[in-house]
């Protein structure tokens, strides 16, 4: 291969393999030494970037990386054991960590990654630090990339990671192999983390669009990994994957060439990705159990809502309203309350929806005012503009403000 390729190939490989390699090494010597694993992997990539620039890229770059990381690990432990047996041994009879040969094949890599997902998803961590940790350890994102994705200062991200990593090290979670008990214990947290990871990429309107899209794809990748193992597969996981596929199908249609968001109603449907919609349908069917084990979780309902959004059926809004009703009964969220009101307007009338909106108690939410702006647009332009203006005042996102201002402009010239 040619030398100049190494500059492009390395960052790509880095993302893909960095997280996997750390998982493999950690499954070997435990989470207590995760920093050690990270050092070995970083060293390996450093060596690759130096060597490949001079000698060109090896035949099989991935295998090369694993071999080097493996050797680094072995050398370290050899050194340690020589040190321990020759010097320390005389002072104490501490247990010596001997290095076992690491077997690297696809099964080991997949299993280590799965185990790492469960190790990282600890219910102790706050929502924010949980996502940061998952991005760093499971997806190989740098602190800088995470801070770009969330538009949060690097120092804040570092603090979040510091706390979360402390929990990770002190946790008694065994990463060596996944057993049913530890899966059961953390399953909900794992799904929740993937769900949050996806939403972070999909909904937040701040930060780098490209990285946000990658968050969505990473969440999907990890979910599919769980799907491939019978121990970690479940009906609700299939529902979650269906949800991610349906939502992702609109990723290209949601923003214009300037990165501004396009509202669902104005999207060019030709840009919706039919193959992802098909995949969504496949997983949604798999999410439905038999008559005896038919559970409806919030992921099922959200997948159902996302499904109807991809449809052109004349009754689709009735179905969407129905699912939002059920969703809210299971778990309240301001976003679901607002979306339900929007669906109500579609099924009944804006007038009825305005009455319902007034009961929501969400006056501090920018989306609430944007919704009211939309609902008033046909009836009372002054009220609509008034509401959109409030929405602009409440919004923290520049791109959202832009979209809202465009609506105000449109109403003013009517």
């Amino acid at each position: 291969m040619e030398k100049e390729h190494s500059k492009e190939l390395l960052p790509h490989l880095f993302r893909q393999e960095h997280a996997k390699m750390i998982a493999v090494l950690c499954s070997h010597f435990g989470l207590k030494h995760i920093e050690l694993a990270e050092d070995f992997v970083s060293d390996t990539f450093l060596k690759a970037s130096e060597l490949w620039a001079i000698e060109g890229i090896p035949e099989n770059p991935t295998a090369w990386l694993y071999t080097v990381a493996k050797n680094k690990t072995r050398d370290y432990f050899k050194h340690l054991s020589v040190f321990e047996s020759k010097i320390t041994h005389e002072f104490s009879s501490r247990e010596i960590t001997y290095f076992k040969e690491i077997e690297i094949d696809n099964t080991t890599i997949t299993d280590s990654q799965l185990a790492m997902i469960f190790a990282v998803c600890n219910p102790i961590n706050s929502k924010e630090s949980q996502i940061c940790l998952a991005l760093q350890i499971l997806c190989g994102f740098s602190v800088e990339e995470i801070s770009n994705a969330f538009l949060v200062p690097k120092e804040t991200i570092k603090k979040r990671l510091f706390r979360a990593r402390k929990n990770l090290r002190n946790d008694h979670f065994k990463i060596t192999q996944l057993d049913e008990r530890s899966i059961l214990e953390r399953y909900d947290t794992v799904l929740k983390t993937l769900y949050l990871l996806f939403n972070e990429g999909y909904y937040s309107k701040s930060g780098n669009q490209l990285i946000r899209k990658e968050l969505c794809l990473e969440a999907l990748r990890l979910a599919l990994l769980l799907n491939q193992n019978t121990l970690t597969d479940s009906l609700q996981l299939n529902a979650l994957i269906a949800l991610m596929c349906f939502q992702s199908s609109r990723l290209e249609a949601r923003t214009d060439q300037f990165g501004d968001s396009i509202l669902y109603e104005n999207q060019n449907r030709a840009l919706w990705d039919q193959s992802l919609i098909d995949k969504g349908n496949y997983f949604l069917v798999n999410a439905c159990g038999t008559k005896d084990s038919n559970q409806v979780t919030k992921y099922h309902l959200e997948a159902g809502i996302a499904y109807w959004h991809t449809s052109n059926d004349e009754h689709k809004w009735q179905h969407i309203l129905h699912f939002y009703n059920q969703l809210l009964v299971i778990e309240y969220s301001p976003m679901a309350a607002l979306n339900r009101t929007f669906a109500l307007a579609k099924v009944h009338s804006c007038k009825k929806a305005i009455k319902e909106a007034s009961k929501l108690g969400l006056e501090n939410n920018s989306y609430f005012h944007a919704l009211c702006g939309y609902l008033y647009a046909e009836e009372d332009i002054a009220q609509a503009i008034n509401n959109y203006t409030k929405a602009i005042e409440h919004s923290n996102s520049e791109s959202e403000k832009k979209t809202l201002k465009r609506e105000v402009g449109r109403l003013m010239t009517r």
């Binding site: 129905h322 939002y324 009703n325 809210l328 009964v329 309240y332 309350a337 109500l344």
Partner: protein, 113 residues
């Protein structure tokens, strides 16, 4: 925030099994309360059919079906959160049960420890 049980009563056995439209109306009502984050407990339906309902009275008297001394029977309940009983009453007023001649009893919940 207090909690209030809304107890539904109807008098006609035929009305117990709702049509899909009635079902949707009820769900919309429940969704509306949930959207205000004021649903404390989605409650349950209480089956009135023979085999699912019996009334036990003094002196070992057991009759089939629900308690219907007042020609009505309880069909279910939900629990809502509200600042005052008036607020809970205004939520009850929106329920579609009145279209079929039913009624709702609103009762503040006093939690036992």
């Amino acid at each position: 925030m207090k909690e209030f049980a809304l107890i539904f009563r109807i008098s006609n056995m035929e009305d117990f099994k709702p049509s899909p439209e009635q079902m949707q109306e009820r769900m919309n009502w429940l969704g509306s309360i949930a959207a205000q984050n004021k649903l404390a407990d989605k409650g349950n339906t209480l089956l009135p059919m023979a085999g699912s309902a019996k009334t036990v009275k003094p002196d070992n008297v057991v009759t089939d079906g629900p308690f219907t001394e007042i020609k009505e029977f309880i069909s279910g309940y939900v629990v809502v959160k509200a600042e005052t009983i008036e607020e809970a009453v205004s939520m009850a007023k929106e329920n579609p049960i009145f279209k079929i001649g039913g009624n709702i009893e609103v009762r503040e919940v006093l939690k036992r420890d």
